[in-house]
């Protein structure tokens, strides 16, 4: 096995392993506005804060001093209120450990698996981190006269938008209960400080073509309308801390929403307003983007909510080939949008047969679980490894149907290994 040499660095003045952080995309003021997680380089379950992925749909807002911070709770409640961060911190707290995954994570794999099934030769999308410039380059591209969809399609890898984290705050339902939610409540609309005009390029990149019209709402604040049932879930949290330290600005400080199991776009950052509504609000990033459907013209588009069931083989990877005959450990991560992973199976023969993998158990339903499988191989040649997960609800990977915006990918991605 061509073993990669462990990279070194200086950590607190001492020679040490290189600590892999995200490679950020920055704005003109050297501020980070984007980053992908190098998850293959990490051990354990919690992604270090400096390596946690960053995606913002609109412009990142200016930071707000925590002592100046407050947010409104209003709408279908008996007692509308404005709460400061300190007042919020007096309520009974809750810490939840969960996977945050961008709805568009691994979106390129939809096309890759389709191509592979048909015997096509589309190259496997890369898990390699770029310098973040790709993401920044395509912004606003659709407004340029020389806009080229083919160039856009290859502008930015879709992998690395997933992280595991620990979030500390207050269950949203503590706040809602104190405000007195009326029986008429249907949803809770969160509005962030972040504003901007949604870039149509985002949708073109997501859909993979640009021959349709994207609704232009003008300049808006980022908002989402969380169904009341999920809002009252004890694990849905208003978080001010992340991985044992105060929440950082790029991750939504002073306060963000944490919606375990649901895609990252529900985890509204920089919360400004919480409005309880008697209807599903018409939020751009819910009714026009992050929606299911067969095409942009599909009249039955619906907001996409919980993630499917997903596994990722982290070791070995394709470029570890060739491996020698003998025993190898197949390792990976498994997670689900609707609760704990109950089973992971591994196939070493391209899905012909499956065997149960060992799952490392823990008590956090929405945090990924590590799995491992001892693979004894003595036949030279090409072997295709696969993994598939099943969650506590009995949902077996893959769960998510193809959708025109190519969101919530949870397909089974084969790993091709040569044995010598």
């Amino acid at each position: 096995m061509p073993r990669k040499e462990i990279e070194g660095d200086w950590v607190m003045g001492w020679a040490d392993r290189k600590r892999h952080m995200l490679v950020p995309g920055k704005d003109q003021h050297d501020r980070v506005i984007y980053g992908r997680t190098p998850f293959f380089e990490h051990e354990g379950l919690i992604t270090p804060t400096d390596a946690t992925y960053i995606v913002a749909q609109l412009q990142m807002p200016e930071p707000v001093h925590p002592e100046d911070y407050g947010f409104e709770v209003f709408g279908e409640v008996e007692r509308p209120a404005t709460l400061t961060l300190e007042e919020l911190r007096r309520l009974p707290g809750h810490t939840v450990r969960a996977v945050a995954e961008c709805a568009g994570n691994d979106t390129d794999f939809w096309d890759y698996l389709q191509s592979r099934e048909k015997g096509g030769n589309m190259p496997k999308p890369s898990y390699e981190l770029d310098d973040g410039e790709g993401f920044l380059k395509w912004r606003g591209m659709a407004d340029q006269p020389d806009f080229d969809m083919a160039e856009l399609a290859h502008a930015n890898p879709s992998t690395g938008h997933v992280s595991g984290g620990e979030w500390t705050g207050v269950p949203l339902r503590e706040v809602l209960t104190r405000a007195g939610v009326k029986d008429s409540a249907v949803a809770v609309r969160f509005e962030g400080f972040d504003e901007g005009r949604p870039d149509p390029t985002t949708q073109y990149l997501s859909v993979g073509r640009a021959d349709f019209e994207v609704y232009d709402p003008g300049v808006i604040n980022y908002d989402k309308g969380l169904p009341i049932e999920k809002a009252m879930d004890p694990d849905t949290v208003l978080a001010w801390a992340h991985n044992g330290e105060w929440l950082t600005h790029v991750h939504g400080a002073p306060l963000r929403l944490v919606v375990p199991g649901w895609a990252g776009n529900w985890w509204v950052k920089w919360i400004n307003k919480i409005e309880v509504t008697d209807h599903m609000p018409d939020c751009y990033h819910q009714t026009h983007y992050f929606v299911s459907g067969k095409s942009p013209d599909d009249p039955n588009k619906k907001p996409m909510m919980a993630l499917g069931v997903k596994t990722l083989i982290t070791e070995p990877r394709d470029d570890d080939s060739p491996l020698r005959r003998g025993s190898h450990v197949i390792r990976g991560l498994a997670w689900s949008g609707e609760g704990a992973i109950a089973r992971v199976e591994v196939s070493t023969d391209a899905g012909e047969t499956w065997s149960d993998a060992h799952i490392e158990q823990h008590g956090d339903r929405f945090l990924w679980r590590r799995f491992s499988y001892l693979w004894d191989v003595d036949v030279p040649g090409r072997h295709t490894l696969m993994s598939r997960g099943t969650d506590e609800k009995g949902r077996c990977q893959p769960v998510t149907e193809w959708n025109f915006q190519r969101k919530h990918f949870d397909g089974i991605v084969p790993v091709d290994i040569a044995i010598e």
């Binding site: 040499e5 462990i6 990279e7 070194g8 660095d9 200086w10 001492w14 020679a15 040490d16 392993r17 290189k18 920055k26 704005d27 003109q28 003021h29 050297d30």
Partner: protein, 270 residues
């Protein structure tokens, strides 16, 4: 063979221009909190060039590579970084008397350090420092040590007491040779540099770094640093970039081209 690499600690060139600041009164670059200075990226290329020369040797153990830097006390970090890549030993010229050196004073101090190191075969530097962009210190060292110098090397081969250098020049490539010892500046066309391994980084923590002041080099305080410099800084400021954009319009491409050529001739650009 003994190769000496001169390296410099510079403000991180990756920081955005919008956050870069200078103190126009003190005529100094303001250190930006939260951004650590780095090894001059061109000097990393010089380190890589030295390592490639050693890799090409039949017996790599016969090649000793020494990194020399002049700067603040924190500059030992970049020497350690070079060591983590494979450099054998380091020398830092750290003393308040060295502060505010210009290219001339820097070249004198580095030349003195190289002389003190003794028998050397090659002196390598990056093509220029990423902060001052002057690119003259290496040539100053060559002049002071009476050594031949070749600039902008993209490939170096050492054999039979001579160095053969492929230079990156605007017209393409140029091959030159010089007898050893010689001073060579390395162009970024050399290619990607290696990454430090954990094993080498750990070894680097145990490698020797000597710290020399003017006395160690046999130089008096009046001949180094600001006192020994010839450059006079009249003003240090950030130039503004005012760009006027003029659209040349017309009905036909030929008419637009004609108008464009007319404007360029008018501005004496053609």
């Amino acid at each position: 063979m003994h190769i000496v690499i001169c390296i410099k600690q510079v403000p991180d060139p990756e920081i955005a221009p919008s956050v870069f600041r200078v103190d126009e009164v003190a005529k100094k670059v303001i250190s930006l909190a939260g951004t650590a200075p780095v090894i001059n990226p061109f000097d990393e290329q010089a380190v890589e060039a030295a390592l490639r020369i050693r890799d090409a040797e039949q017996d790599p153990a016969n090649v000793t590579i020494t990194a020399v830097t002049m700067g603040e006390a924190t500059s030992e970090k970049i020497v350690r970084k070079a060591m983590a890549l494979g450099v054998d030993q380091g020398v830092t010229l750290v003393d308040a008397a060295f502060a505010d050196s210009d290219a001339y004073a820097t070249a004198r101090a580095l030349a003195a350090a190289i002389t003190k190191l003794g028998d050397i075969d090659l002196v390598l530097t990056g093509r220029q420092a990423a902060d001052s962009d002057a690119g003259v210190v290496a040539l100053g060292i060559a002049e002071l040590l009476r050594l031949p110098a070749i600039t902008l090397a993209k490939k170096i081969e050492v054999a039979d007491g001579a160095v053969q250098v492929e230079r990156a020049v605007s017209e393409g490539e140029e091959t030159m040779a010089a007898p050893l010892p010689a001073v060579i500046t390395i162009a970024h066309e050399l290619g990607a540099v290696r990454k430090p391994s954990l094993r080498e980084t750990m070894r680097a923590g145990r490698k020797p770094v000597r710290r020399w002041g003017p006395d160690d080099l046999g130089m008096d305080a009046e001949s180094v640093g600001r006192a020994g410099s010839r450059r006079v800084v009249e003003r240090l400021y950030q130039p503004t970039r005012d760009v006027d954009c003029e659209w040349v319009s017309g009905d036909e491409p030929a008419a637009i081209a004609k108008a464009l050529v007319g404007r360029l001739v008018e501005q004496k650009l053609l």
